[in-house]
């Protein structure tokens, strides 16, 4: 079929059938489609759009509908009692220069009926949402034909090739010749795309449905406006046609924005630089012919200068002149008069950047943003309520929240034991994230800050007010469901972090991840987690990494309230942080004394990972090797050495004798200060105190060393030693007392002397002390008190 498509003569325009192969959002195609409909005056205009959205045609023709607008379709109807769950959404955008939009309005003008002939939205939602743009769109960039064309024309990619060959023909009159050329181009795309790729998504099913609709048109005179990739399959009358199954769907017409039309931002079908193409369309429409390219270029230069001045980078007149002249030069070098979007971006780079610049620099980004625009379209009042409000109400009803009035009500949610309550909690956290004012958390565990984690219930105050609706309307421009709006906010917060220069702040990013988990957005957190991974790789902060590991490893445990089976691999993130921490361990020898306690705690956290439920995922060997290297460093302080040695002995990497020797050496050292004496012991207690009661050799060595000290040395070292032992938890002190008791043949109780002295005795001692003080003062000997 592929070869035949290219070589057989094709009748694109006959008495009954006029095929218009287009590329979505192409102004040149829109101009030709309008001319075709005007000249042909068909009875019907068939458009490649989901057939279950045909009802929107009158609304699209309404004078109050000003593009950019989009039809958003949601799979699940928001009926009572059903779990809204994760609604699948599709956006069908329309710009003023979209061939489909122009076709609808022109059809209305000539009195033709409009039919949408693509598969219904609902059946298209079975596709894998991560599949990316449809094959029919990707082909414009990836087909082998494009690779060959870029080489031949000395252009960079499929978008440049299309612009160079077709957008330059905007405003010309020969629509038949134009569509013959787009047909040839798209047939070549199709012929050089493998059959497996085409069968890989629902392209074939869609084409079968479109053919069915075409057959239904019978003998009527019809203009067919469809993506060029599909037209070779539609012309083929012999191919099978399948009647599509009608399904129920919730759909809305909403305002859309120029930057959302940008194919980069995810929709995938269409051209970038909406404002630029819109202006070209406007000029062509006004001239009823080719636009004044020179004027468009000058406007672009001036518009860019204004946008650049707004960001604080003033552009002088001579620079604008240089920009325009380079853009024109580039166009002429490529053999055309028309200056296109990429030429303008390249010219901005050459004329304005006065330093070394990478692939992205402020000027080219400003130019790209200006060419894209950010205008928001408008929809008439008849379009109804945005889907976001309907979705929020459905979810609230599902969470058994009464929306009948706007009074504040309390809800108590048992998030740990009740799954439905946990879902409701997530919904309320999402609404809080969007800042709707709908719900307020009065009492409950704070998993983000780590307070009061033991509480079982969350207490909420909820109220549905007009303010809530207003807030939701504000968000409906970019989201049609509550989870999406919440995710959008989370992403906005992350961008704000980057703007504030905290894009690499581990604690801030971890906090966002935890907020996302708490709000039930786990399955969408991959980009945020990727940002966190980048921050980890660049982090020089051992403490921050250890803290992150502590928090995220908790959330990865199945019994944790934040746990979600759809979350990204949090343990993997911990492993990355662990590896980064290992590279920083070698620098610990230079850590200042004040920070040492914290660093020893960090080492303990890292070591705990090796023993935790995911221990085999962490690199034991490198960790222990790094600790070895740290010990070998002569600058390593005794406290650090004690801590590190204890970890190595506990892991079995070093024999206990080394630790025993170190303890003995530091405790009985000659000429060292009292604080230093206790250092190694203190360090060891900081990371692996259990060695004292689990390993007889170490306990014996420590005990013997302390016993060997003379009275004065021991007393001077006593405060530091006592400080070291305060780090032990009460149950650890008990274990140590037991072990010591066994060693010395006494009971543990005798060692743990009961410190609660007789109250009366204390009172008499205090009185005596006071009396003595007064006596000394009376005798003029108060300076003796200090001795």
């Amino acid at each position: 079929m592929n070869e035949a498509m290219l070589t057989a003569p094709v009748a694109l325009a006959t008495e009954r059938r006029v095929f218009a192969p287009i590329r979505h959002h192409s102004p040149a195609c829109a101009f030709m489609v309008r001319a075709a409909i005007r000249q042909t005056r068909p009875e019907m205009v068939l458009i490649e759009a989901p057939s279950d959205l045909e009802g929107f045609v009158p609304l699209l023709c309404d004078a109050g509908t000003i593009p950019p607008v989009a039809i958003v379709a949601l799979t699940l109807p928001n009926a009572e009692g059903t779990d809204p769950g994760e609604a699948e959404m599709t956006y069908i955008p329309f710009a003023r220069h979209s061939p489909e939009f122009v076709a609808i309005r022109e059809a209305r003008a000539v009195g033709a009926r409009v039919r949408f002939i693509d598969l219904p939205c609902a059946s298209r939602h079975d596709r894998d949402p991560d599949a990316g743009p449809p094959v029919a769109e990707q082909a414009f960039g990836t087909a082998d034909f494009i690779q060959a064309m870029t080489r031949k024309l000395a252009l960079r990619d499929g978008d440049e090739v299309w612009d160079h060959l077709f957008e330059t023909r905007l405003g010309q009159d020969d629509w038949r010749g134009f569509f013959a050329d787009t047909y040839a181009y798209c047939a070549a795309l199709r012929a050089t795309t493998s059959v497996e790729t085409i069968a890989g998504d629902d392209t074939l099913a869609r084409e079968a449905a479109m053919r069915w609709h075409l057959r239904q048109a019978g003998e009527a005179c019809v203009v067919i406006v469809a993506g060029g990739f599909h037209v070779p399959a539609l012309i083929d009358e012999a191919a099978p046609a399948t009647r599509p199954v009608a399904t129920k769907l919730a759909s809305y017409l909403v305002r859309y924005s120029e930057d959302q039309l940008d194919s980069r931002s995810g929709y995938g079908a269409g051209l970038r630089f909406a404002r630029w193409y819109d202006r070209l369309w406007e000029l062509a429409d006004a001239a009823q012919g080719p636009p004044d390219w020179r004027q468009a270029t000058l406007e672009a230069g001036l518009g860019f200068a204004a946008a650049s001045a707004a960001t604080g980078r003033r552009v002088g007149v001579s620079q604008i002149v240089e920009l325009v002249s380079i853009a024109s030069g580039l166009a002429r070098l490529k053999g055309r008069e028309a200056v296109l979007a990429r030429d303008l971006i390249d010219a901005a780079r050459t004329a304005l950047v006065k330093a070394e610049a990478g692939t992205a620099d402020p000027y080219t980004e400003t130019m790209a943003a200006w060419l894209t625009g950010h205008r928001l379209g408008d929809v008439p009042a008849a379009a109804g309520q945005p889907p976001l409000i309907a979705d929020a109400r459905a979810r609230a009803r599902h969470a058994r929240i009464d929306l009948g009035d706007s009074l504040r009500k309390t809800r108590s949610l048992d998030i740990r034991r009740n799954a439905a309550h946990r879902n409701a909690s997530r919904f309320l956290h999402q609404m809080t994230l969007i800042d709707t004012g709908f719900a307020q958390l009065r009492e409950g565990p704070d998993f983000i800050a780590g307070h009061r984690n033991g509480l079982l219930h969350e207490e909420w105050l909820v109220a549905w007010t007009p303010l809530v609706e207003a807030r939701l309307i504000a968000h409906s421009g970019h989201s049609a469901t509550v989870p999406r709006a919440a995710l959008h906010q989370l992403e906005a917060q992350r961008l704000q972090l980057a703007e504030d220069g905290q894009g690499n702040d581990l604690a801030a990013l971890t906090r966002l991840v935890l907020i996302g988990l708490r709000a039930g957005l786990a399955r969408y957190l991959a980009p945020l987690v990727d940002a966190l991974k980048l921050a980890i790789a660049a982090s020089p902060d051992l403490g921050g990494l250890a803290a992150l590991i502590g928090r995220l490893s908790g959330a990865a445990q199945p019994d944790d309230p934040l746990y979600d089976p759809y979350a990204p691999d949090l343990v993997g993130v911990c492993v990355l942080a662990f590896n980064q921490a290992i590279t920083l361990i070698t620098n610990l020898a230079e850590a200042p004394d004040m920070a040492l306690s914290q660093r020893i705690d960090d080492l303990r956290t890292l070591d705990a990972m090796l023993r935790g439920p995911y221990g085999e995922r962490f690199d034991h060997r490198r960790f222990l090797a790094a600790l070895d290297d740290l010990l070998a460093n002569r600058a390593c302080l005794p406290r650090l050495a004690g801590a590190v040695m204890a970890l190595l002995v506990r892991a079995g990497h070093q024999p206990p004798t080394t630790l025993a020797t170190l303890l003995r050496g530091t405790l009985t050292g000659v000429g060292i200060s009292p604080t230093e004496r206790a250092q190694a012991l203190e360090g060891m207690i900081g990371t692996a105190p259990m060695l004292l009661w689990l390993n007889g050799e170490i306990l014996t060595a420590a005990n013997a060393a302390l016993a060997a000290l003379d009275e004065t040395t021991f007393l001077s070292a006593l405060p530091a030693l006592r400080r070291g032992f305060t780090h032990l938890a009460p149950h650890e002190t008990d274990r140590l007392a037991e072990a010591l008791g066994e060693m010395h043949g006494v009971s543990a109780g005798q060692l743990l002397a009961d410190e609660t002295a007789d109250l009366a005795l204390l009172a008499r001692a205090a009185a005596a002390d006071r009396a003595l003080g007064e006596r000394l003062a009376a005798d003029g000997l108060s300076h003796w008190e200090g001795t």
Binding site: E322, R349, A351, A355, K533, A537, T583, T586, R622
Partner: protein, 365 residues
């Protein structure tokens, strides 16, 4: 060592590719005033045109070449900036050879450059003998370019003192050099076809800032490292072969050896592995030119000291010395890279295994 040694170490581009330039000169089409080739032909010369037998000389960024050509057609000069080892001087030479037919009008920037090097000097013997006459004038390459309507190349312009750089400011606006010694109102006005291609490393030690007045007269283009790994591999293989052409005893390195060194350099340069994992990027510039140096050194090591084919072992030995020049932190980053990435790949490839073993042994010293 070889039977017929070349008469010079390196030929200029217009001699090396004389045949291609002659073929391109025959192309019809309008030429900007003073240009020997049409802009399209210049593009074809630099970027290559397999259909006509024109070799690709500059790999990587075709869009960059387009913008350079368009800049040179206008009134602004062209300033090529970027990290060391990205072939800025090569591009400057190719453009000059194609547009003006000569790439030898060059001023090498350094701290010793004075105004005379940019304007004109005197042959003092003739000056004393004849007095201030045109015969006694020694034109700088800039003045020669202005007279002949050609491109002059200013290499490493930021290494000149700022006062000397600023000579260019009025020269580039007025496109004229006044020569008062020859008489009142005597000046040399540039003929059409005159332009300046400058190169600079902006972020290096020992460079001065350019004044913004001077920056305004240039269009800056950043030459980035090669984005496509396959292109980089081809380039390294080709350049190593050129360098080893004088040593017939050397065996050609196996493709996976080139692949290893290019991969190591790309991983460390970009800070990312092929699967998206991040690695710490050392401060030393890991340019393609350095990769060629490392491979060349490894080949010499293998051929003359080891008397065997080059393997990962030799690359590991040369890597540290050639690449890590100042920062001790870089040594730590390399160690981490070897410890994790090289160890992992050693399990799957014998070349990487050799590399890893030798690198580990070296890092233990």
């Amino acid at each position: 060592m070889t039977t017929d040694a070349p008469s010079v170490l390196r030929q200029p581009a217009e001699v090396l590719y004389a045949a291609e330039l002659a073929a391109l000169a025959a192309d019809p089409g309008p030429r900007p005033p003073g240009w020997r080739l049409t802009p399209r032909a210049v593009r074809a010369f630099v970027v290559g045109d397999p259909a006509r037998g024109i070799t690709t000389k500059f790999v990587g960024d075709d869009g960059l070449v387009d913008r350079c050509i368009v800049s040179l057609m206008g009134r602004q000069g062209l300033m090529l900036v970027g990290e060391p080892g990205t072939a800025k001087s090569l591009l400057s030479e190719l453009l000059a050879a194609a547009i003006s037919g000569t790439s030898s009008l060059v001023v090498q920037g350094s701290a010793g450059i004075i105004e005379d090097h940019l304007r004109y000097g005197w042959n003092y013997a003739l000056l004393l003998n004849l007095g201030p006459k045109p015969e006694a004038l020694v034109p700088s390459p800039v003045m020669s370019a202005m007279r002949e309507g050609r491109i002059v190349r200013l290499e490493e312009i930021t290494r000149c003192a700022p006062e000397v750089q600023d000579v260019l400011i009025s020269l580039m606006s007025e496109k004229t050099i006044a020569i008062p010694e020859l008489g009142p109102h005597r000046e040399e006005r540039a003929s059409p076809g005159f332009n300046i291609i400058a190169t600079a490393n902006l972020l290096d030690r020992g460079v001065h800032d350019m004044s913004s007045a001077l920056k305004r007269r240039f269009n800056f283009e950043t030459v980035l490292p090669i984005a496509n790994p396959a292109h980089e591999r081809d380039l390294v293989a080709r350049q190593v072969a050129e360098r080893m052409a004088a040593e017939p005893d050397a065996a050609t390195p196996a493709p996976d050896v080139i692949d290893l060194i290019v991969t190591v350099f790309r991983d460390l340069r970009t800070g990312r592995l092929a699967d998206g994992a991040t690695v710490a990027s050392p401060k030393a510039v890991m340019s393609t030119a350095e990769a060629v140096n490392v491979t060349h050194a490894a080949l010499l090591d293998a051929t003359y000291l080891d008397r065997g084919p080059v393997s990962g072992r030799h690359l590991a030995r040369q890597l540290r010395g050639v690449v890590f020049k100042d920062d001790p932190d870089d040594a730590r980053k390399l160690k981490a890279y070897i410890d994790i990435v090289a160890r992992d790949r050693a399990g799957r490839s014998s070349v990487w295994k050799d590399f890893f073993r030798e690198a580990q042994a070296i890092s233990r010293e």
